[in-house]
């Protein structure tokens, strides 16, 4: 019986991959290309040499930071769709330091990152306060604050932080060298500091969620805020702290985009990475240690597809299609697994359903 379920599990895990690859292959053939060539190109695009891997890692870093932050908010039962705006605010705060502070790199870089955490956390806290104190659902609050963050960034880029000479108006002036994160090497252009931060964040969140009272209270709040409140959990504070932690991590992700990837603040600097993070967390069913792995798969497929686009002049949204099918089929097979599995009480794929968080002082009508 045990081995039978193991086989079934393996089949269900392989199913989404095979299915989505097959569907994508069919699509590729439909537009007249050779699917083998397509897959080879994506593979080469992502892994042909250190430089390419560096490109993938550069996308993986902010994606993982957002994903791991979202694991925290999901644990608390919150759909922190405002993660995009939190990234942007992190980027804006870091950019302010980069453009205005004249400090040596060993001081400036930490200041930038701390400011980015502050910016992201503030933005997340706003969503949280709207939710906990005023009862505005975090999805609505988040969407509104995402838009506002964009407004702020674009205002700064086209206004106060416009470069002194004409021309480059779609970005701030490039940041001075001390403000930037140094790459590991010329061929492997990845920031060591950022790598360290990612590892610390993933391990830290994982440990905090399983080993601290805070993590337990988050989980309780996420699964049933009403009961948690009755058992004495400060649910409002739990929710706010989850927002703050996620905002800080998203803020770092945003700062990485401006301090390393682009060397300047640009419109749309968050690039939908936060939304992709939501997808990652849904796929890994909120398990912290899985998030970096799935994020890497996403980063590789997306990053690798640039080569595909150039070589075949195919629309690179093909990678998006592959990704979409992957998510769809994975969720499908998770659902299937839940149906087939013996009625284990907590399904492995069960992600916390969003629940209203009663304020501590909540009174019934």
């Amino acid at each position: 019986m045990k081995s039978q379920t193991l086989t079934a599990q393996a089949a269900l895990t392989a199913l989404p991959i095979i299915l989505s690859l097959a569907i994508t292959a069919l699509l590729v053939m439909a537009v007249g290309a050779d699917p083998r060539e397509v897959f080879t190109l994506v593979w080469e695009g992502a892994f042909r040499d250190l430089r390419a891997v560096g490109q993938v890692v550069n996308f993986w870093i902010p994606l993982t930071l957002c994903s791991i932050g979202l694991v925290v908010t999901f644990t608390a039962g919150l759909w922190n769709i405002g993660v995009e705006g939190q990234m942007i605010l992190g980027a804006v705060f870091a950019s302010w330091a980069a453009l205005t502070l004249d400090l040596p790199a060993p001081i400036l870089v930490p200041v930038e990152i701390l400011l980015a955490m502050l910016g992201g956390a503030l933005w997340a806290l706003l969503v949280g306060v709207l939710k906990v104190r005023l009862g505005v659902h975090e999805i609505f609050g988040g969407v509104a604050l995402n838009a506002l963050a964009n407004v702020i960034a674009i205002y700064l880029i086209s206004g106060p932080w416009q470069p002194p000479e004409g021309g480059s108006v779609r970005a701030t002036p490039p940041f001075p060298a001390p403000a930037l994160l140094p790459p590991l090497s010329d061929t492997f252009k990845v920031s060591l500091l950022a790598l360290v931060i990612v590892v610390v964040a993933v391990v830290g969140v994982w440990l905090a969620l399983r080993g601290t009272r805070w993590g337990l209270q988050l989980k309780a709040t996420g699964k049933n805020a009403r009961s948690a409140m009755l058992l004495g959990v400060p649910t409002g504070r739990s929710a706010l702290s989850a927002f703050i932690v996620c905002g800080m991590l998203a803020g770092i992700a945003g700062s990485y985009r401006v301090l390393f990837t682009y060397n300047s603040l640009r419109p749309g600097v968050s690039g939908g990475i936060g939304f992709l993070g939501l997808l990652v967390v849904l796929l890994v069913a909120n398990r912290a240690l899985w998030a970096p792995l799935v994020a890497f798969a996403f980063a590789a497929v997306l990053g690798g597809s640039a080569r595909l686009k150039i070589a075949l002049q195919l629309d690179a949204s093909l990678a998006g299609v592959l990704q979409g099918f992957l998510v769809l089929t994975a969720l499908l097979s998770n659902g299937l697994r839940a149906r087939l599995a013996p009625p284990t009480p907590i399904s492995m794929i069960e992600e916390p359903a969003p629940q209203p968080i009663p304020a501590e002082a909540a009174h019934e009508q």
């Binding site: 407004v151 682009y262 799935v294 150039i310």
Partner: protein, 407 residues
């Protein structure tokens, strides 16, 4: 699960055969990096079509393009990666078709010293700060804007023209000012009216296109132009709201016109009220650059693509053009042709090589500062901060209404 995904992907990829790129003897591959979609009926499409022109006109030339390279549409990719992939596919010259790529182009060019990079609309090569393998190219669209302004000045019945501006910088100021100079000249010289009575209002929406909540809504701005007495709106933004609104209002019987921007086919939105469109034609200029690079003869340069004054709309020779629209009356079309002839005569005079028609003194900034005394020509470009120039226009001109600086 992710590990299994990776494993499976690896297997599939390894099973597929790697196909090494083969470069034919006479082939010359060039890259075209676009910031927007290749079919945006605007800036990016003009470049894409320029690349196609090169493929047709330079033997052996083959284009690799990459569209929508910007943080929002392609967050996973940077210019470095796109360039790397293009070079891997054999590209020897790469156009980076946006001022947004200026800094990144300079960065990446250092890593590929054997590849030539052409950044469109940048000025690093002029300023001397660019690496040896980076050149710039730009069309002198100021000529087109002069003609557009003239068309507006010839047509306006209310004596009031609106200019739909994007955000404020040197480029957008000098283009709005060029339109103003054209309008003023034609209002005075072809219609015999007092140019000081011509009202020319610039409203900056805040960005190159409408972003709800961020920029002013160009549709509303255009409407309020018409509501407050203007009857011609010249667009300086990337999108088509100006001509669309004018078309709608004309259908309701109002006598209004519009002049779009950037793309040769832009009048199609509402041809009957379109006075014409100033546009870029990158093909011929690009073809020259590619041909030179192919023969190993390309020299770093800040290339300006000028109109071919024998026929500004000649697709094989002219870098900048102006197509007259159906909204222009016959008489006005004749006047405009005369104006173009005058501009051509001016441009072809060796003595005027460094300046542009109508940019002659006396010219004053909005705050009254004189930038060219009577009888003096304002130079097209001069090092920033040393002397006033058209390129680095610091304010709008006296006589124009609207802010010169971001508030």
């Amino acid at each position: 699960m992710a590990r299994k995904i990776l494993l499976a992907l690896t297997l599939v990829f390894v099973c597929g055969l790697a196909i090494a790129p083969t470069v034919a003897q006479d082939e010359f591959i060039f890259g075209m990096v676009l910031v927007g979609p290749f079919n945006d009926r605007g800036w990016s499409q003009a470049h894409y079509e320029g690349g196609q022109y090169v493929e047709q006109n330079v033997p052996g030339a083959k284009m690799l393009y990459f569209e929508k390279l910007n943080p929002a549409d392609a967050p996973e990719t940077t210019l470095r990666d796109v360039v790397t992939n293009m070079v891997d596919k054999g590209a020897q010259l790469i156009f980076t078709a946006s001022d947004e790529f200026e800094e990144d182009t300079a960065e990446v060019a250092k890593e590929f010293p054997d590849v030539i990079f052409i950044n469109v609309s940048g000025d690093d090569a002029y300023a001397g700060t660019a690496p040896a393998n980076v050149g710039n190219v730009m069309g002198t669209i100021e000529w087109g804007k002069l003609i557009a302004g003239c068309a507006a000045g010839l047509t306006t019945e209310t004596g009031s023209i609106g200019y739909l501006g994007p955000l404020i910088n040197f480029e957008t100021r000098r283009l709005a000012a060029s339109a103003y100079l054209g309008a003023r000249y034609c209002y005075e010289n072809y219609r015999g009216l007092d140019p000081d009575n011509l009202k020319f209002t610039v409203t900056w929406i805040g960005f190159w296109f409408n972003i709800p909540g961020v920029t002013l809504d160009p549709t509303e701005v255009t409407n309020s132009f018409f509501d407050s007495g203007a009857d011609v709106v010249i667009s300086g933004i990337d999108t088509t709201e100006g001509i669309v609104v004018a078309g709608q209002r004309a259908k309701q019987g109002e006598k209004v016109w519009s002049i779009p921007y950037d793309y040769v086919g832009a009048c199609e939105e509402a041809p009957e009220i379109c006075l014409g469109v100033p546009y870029f034609h990158w093909g011929p200029g690009y073809a020259q650059i590619v041909a030179a690079a192919k023969n190993g003869a390309y020299q770093q340069e800040w290339t300006l693509l000028n109109p071919d004054w024998t026929d500004i709309n000649n697709p094989d020779t002219s870098g900048v053009g102006f197509v007259k629209g159906a909204g222009l009356s016959e008489a006005n079309a004749a006047s405009l042709d005369d104006f173009i002839a005058k501009a051509a005569a001016f441009a072809q005079d060796e003595a005027n090589a460094d300046t542009i028609f109508l940019w002659q003194g006396p010219l004053k900034y909005q705050d009254g500062t004189e930038i060219a005394a009577a009888g003096e020509a304002l130079p097209y470009i001069a090092p920033l901060g040393e002397a006033p120039s058209i390129w680095y226009l610091d304010q709008l001109l006296e006589g124009m209404t609207g802010p010169s600086k971001q508030e």
